[in-house]
């Protein structure tokens, strides 16, 4: 394609990407470097149905003057990034000095909001991504082997988790896990512990979130693999059969290598999605024991007083996290691309 045509072809999406992705990211970076003005407070008498009290209020005229002088707020450099709610430089140093071993260090680190979220987010990515890929491939191979009449209905049922709205799917599971829900009470009966609660226990909540994650994204991996399976060439498969390869050996040495580019694609998408895990945490009310980076951003924006700068800093750190996570995959793709000479 001539470069000029290519340019006109992607111009609309380039404009949209600049407006809706690039500009907001720049604005978020800017906000993360500033903090609010110093607040000028005055003591005033506040009266209401329960009597009068002396309380402080904000001096509006003085604050307005400050705002007009510096509309962005006070420049803070990277101080928001290093404060306790984010990278917590001082606190981590103190914890490192005080901790007795690596285990102790990590458990103390879990007390800091950013690291608690980061550790859960990374564990979620590390566990859900491979399981989704394996389960998706298994379903695809299973469905591909079915007689034709059963294929349609099976595909529909397998895709259900993806069709169901994420929040609704998570809520259904959440209610089933309640103590008088079917899963919650079954677990109590099996373990013989009437006080066992899936929602109260942190490890069980983490496991439930992993299970939900795999359940809800396996259909995506499945449908991609299923499409890929339709393109597997028959000759090498037949040749392998002539050579006496078992079904497993044919999958291992012919089908899986053929699907490798799709695996890279699914891994890429899943890494990005899983790093931004959010809906199930809200639906499961799990913010206390299993916050993610996205959940922290949401939390900063939801308080009675909105912490824009703090949320902006967490957003920038999340973007950096995604970049770091994707670098190996992207490097590999780039290498493959250059060794093949590009096409």
């Amino acid at each position: 394609m001539p470069h000029r045509t290519f340019f006109w072809f992607i111009l609309p999406s380039l404009v949209a990407m600049t407006l809706f992705i690039f500009v907001p990211i720049v604005s978020v970076v800017f906000q993360s470097l500033y903090v609010e003005h110093e607040q000028v407070v005055v003591v005033s008498e506040n009266c209401g149905p329960f009597g009068c009290t002396e309380e402080t209020t904000i001096d509006q005229d003085a604050t307005r003057a400050l705002r007009e002088a510096e509309p962005l707020g006070r420049f803070a450099g990277l101080s928001v990034y290093t404060d306790r709610a984010h990278l917590a430089a001082d606190e981590v140093g103190a914890i490192w000095a005080a901790s007795t071993g690596l285990g102790d260090f990590v458990s103390r680190l879990m007390n800091l909001p950013f690291y608690r979220a980061l550790i859960f987010t990374l564990s979620y990515v590390a566990i859900v991504t491979p399981l989704t890929i394996v389960l998706g491939l298994a379903i695809a191979l299973g469905v591909n082997g079915l007689p034709k009449v059963f294929k349609g209905p099976t595909i529909f049922v397998s895709l259900l988790p993806m069709i169901v709205t994420p929040v609704v799917g998570a809520l259904v599971l959440y209610w089933m896990m309640e103590q008088n829900g079917i899963l919650g009470s079954a677990l109590q009966a099996i373990t013989g512990d009437p006080t066992l609660s899936l929602r109260a226990s942190a490890p069980l909540t983490w496991i439930t979130l992993y299970i939900y994650g795999v359940w809800s994204s396996a259909p995506f991996a499945f449908i991609v693999y299923y499409a890929g399976l339709q393109t597997v060439p028959q000759e090498p498969l037949e040749a392998a059969m002539v050579d006496g390869a078992s079904r497993w050996e044919r999958i291992r040495y012919v089908v899986i290598p053929h699907l490798a580019p799709l695996t890279v694609f699914i891994a890429l998408i899943q890494l990005m999605d899983n790093f931004r895990v959010f809906e199930p945490i809200v639906s499961f009310n799990a913010g206390a024991v299993a916050p993610s980076l996205s959940y922290n951003i949401y939390n900063d924006l939801r308080g009675e007083i909105t912490l824009f700068n703090s949320a902006a800093a967490t957003s920038v750190l999340t973007i950096l996290g995604v970049v770091i996570l994707l670098t190996p995959v992207l490097l590999r793709t780039w290498r493959d691309f250059t060794t093949k000479g590009g096409h």
Binding site: E36, H37, E45, P49, F50, R74, R302
Partner: protein, 413 residues
């Protein structure tokens, strides 16, 4: 949700139009626009329904949602503001005051609000900023029949509540006799506020925004909450007022700390059995550690008028809301709230709030930075409540989280 609500309210207003016409004589707003934002519960619905009876050739709409706190600052910052009326409580008015988004009401009161009681007028530094119409507080709910069955007196202190809960459990009547709104976040922070103020604590160093809760009073408050949580279902960190209300109506608890505004819904004949409703009694919040004041905070709900709207819209909105809170709104809604409106006669559903207020409970502080501390409490206390860290560590975490946020907001250096 929003659209449905607006449509429903509009529909209700149309249905009522016939009956309302006579009423609306005193409430023709001319051409002003009225757009109301507020929380969603029975008493506010009643007020807004009545305000919507007014007639105007301009807009007339309402958005009542439990998410109102997240909408209000952005909606009122716009010029012209998206809503002309924001219905707030003593905590949610603070962000509006901080950003100067609501207007003083003194001139409107002089012109249209002569009948308002002085106690309804909430003033900040001498200017009336909101008009209150109901009071609220969290207080004790107990089941008379179960206390009787266990041979217990009605508890009036938190120590007695803990002992009573333990006795009910020991006698095998209920495994989890106690509930309260302990959901991680705002609710859990509020539980701490109630207990800490009941113990006579103060949140900040006098005259500053420096937090001061990591002390013996804070530890005592947390220990009391922990003892109560042990009498509660292990899922307690997921309980908000919808959940506790449902558990109470299902008859699965004997002692509870719940909002007075839920009292009417619990005592009515819907959603529960005769056994539960006839034995539910609402009482003052208990005192704690030999203190004399109920360990709870007092709240008002009231309306404010946006600053970034025309004077005409402000006048129309004010008149509509004053019409909404006229004494007639209480007809049929006597039990919906503890009304601050002239002529209100307390009902059994109001007993708990009234007794807590008479006992000298403290109003929730209207400080510009109180919300930051509340958020920090809500986020940092759950580790302690689940036994994963000490009370001192939890309080140190709260202080550190608050100070980080307050520094970013410019309240401390």
């Amino acid at each position: 949700m929003t659209i449905t609500k607006t449509a429903l309210l509009a529909g209700a207003a149309t249905l009522l139009a016939g009956a309302a016409w006579a009423d609306a004589h005193g409430c023709d707003l001319g051409e002003g626009n009225v757009r109301i934002l507020g929380n969603e519960f029975g008493a506010i619905q009643a007020v807004v329904d009545r305000a919507m009876e007014c007639t105007t050739s301009g807009d007339m709409s309402a958005n009542l949602t439990t998410e109102h706190k997240e909408l209000q600052v952005a909606a009122l910052t716009a010029d012209p503001a998206q809503y002309t009326v924001a219905i707030v409580a003593n905590s949610s008015i603070v962000p509006l005051l901080n950003d100067d988004l609501i207007r003083p009401l003194d001139d409107l009161i002089a012109e249209y609000g002569q009948d308002l009681l002085p106690t309804q007028q909430i003033s900040v530094g001498g200017q009336v900023m909101a008009i209150g119409f109901m009071a609220n507080a969290q207080h004790l709910f107990y089941r008379e029949d179960i206390l009787e069955q266990a041979g217990l007196e009605v508890p009036t202190t938190w120590e007695e509540v803990i002992a009573a809960g333990q006795a009910i459990r020991d006698q095998g009547i209920m495994d989890h006799p106690y509930i309260s709104n302990t959901m991680t976040g705002w609710n859990l922070g509020q539980e701490f506020n109630n207990m800490y103020l009941g113990l006579g604590g103060s949140f900040f160093e006098p005259g500053t925004a420096q937090v001061a809760i990591n002390n013996e009073t804070g530890v005592k408050a947390l220990e009391t909450l922990k003892a109560l949580a042990e009498l509660s279902n292990p899922d307690f960190l997921t309980y908000d007022s919808n959940a506790t209300g449902a558990i109470w109506e299902a008859g699965d608890a004997a002692l509870a700390m719940m909002w007075g505004s839920r009292g009417g819904g619990i005592l009515d004949d819907e959603g529960s059995t005769e056994e539960v409703t006839s034995n539910t009694v609402l009482a003052a919040a208990p005192t704690v550690d030999g203190g004399s004041i109920p360990a709870t905070t007092l709240w008002w709900d009231g309306f404010t008028i946006a600053r970034n709207i025309s004077d005409e819209d402000a006048a129309a909105s004010f008149q509509a809301m004053v019409h909404g809170i006229q004494p007639e709104v209480m007809e049929g809604n006597e039990e919906a709230a503890v009304w601050l409106i002239e002529g209100y006669q307390p009902t059994p559903a109001a007993a708990g709030v009234a007794a807590s207020a008479q006992g000298g409970a403290i109003p929730y502080p209207m400080l510009p930075y109180a919300g930051l501390l509340h958020t920090a409490l809500g986020n940092e206390l759950s580790d302690f409540m689940q036994g994963r860290e000490s009370a001192e560590q939890a309080l140190a975490d709260v202080e550190a989280a608050y100070t980080t946020a307050a520094r970013e907001q410019g309240f401390v250096n």
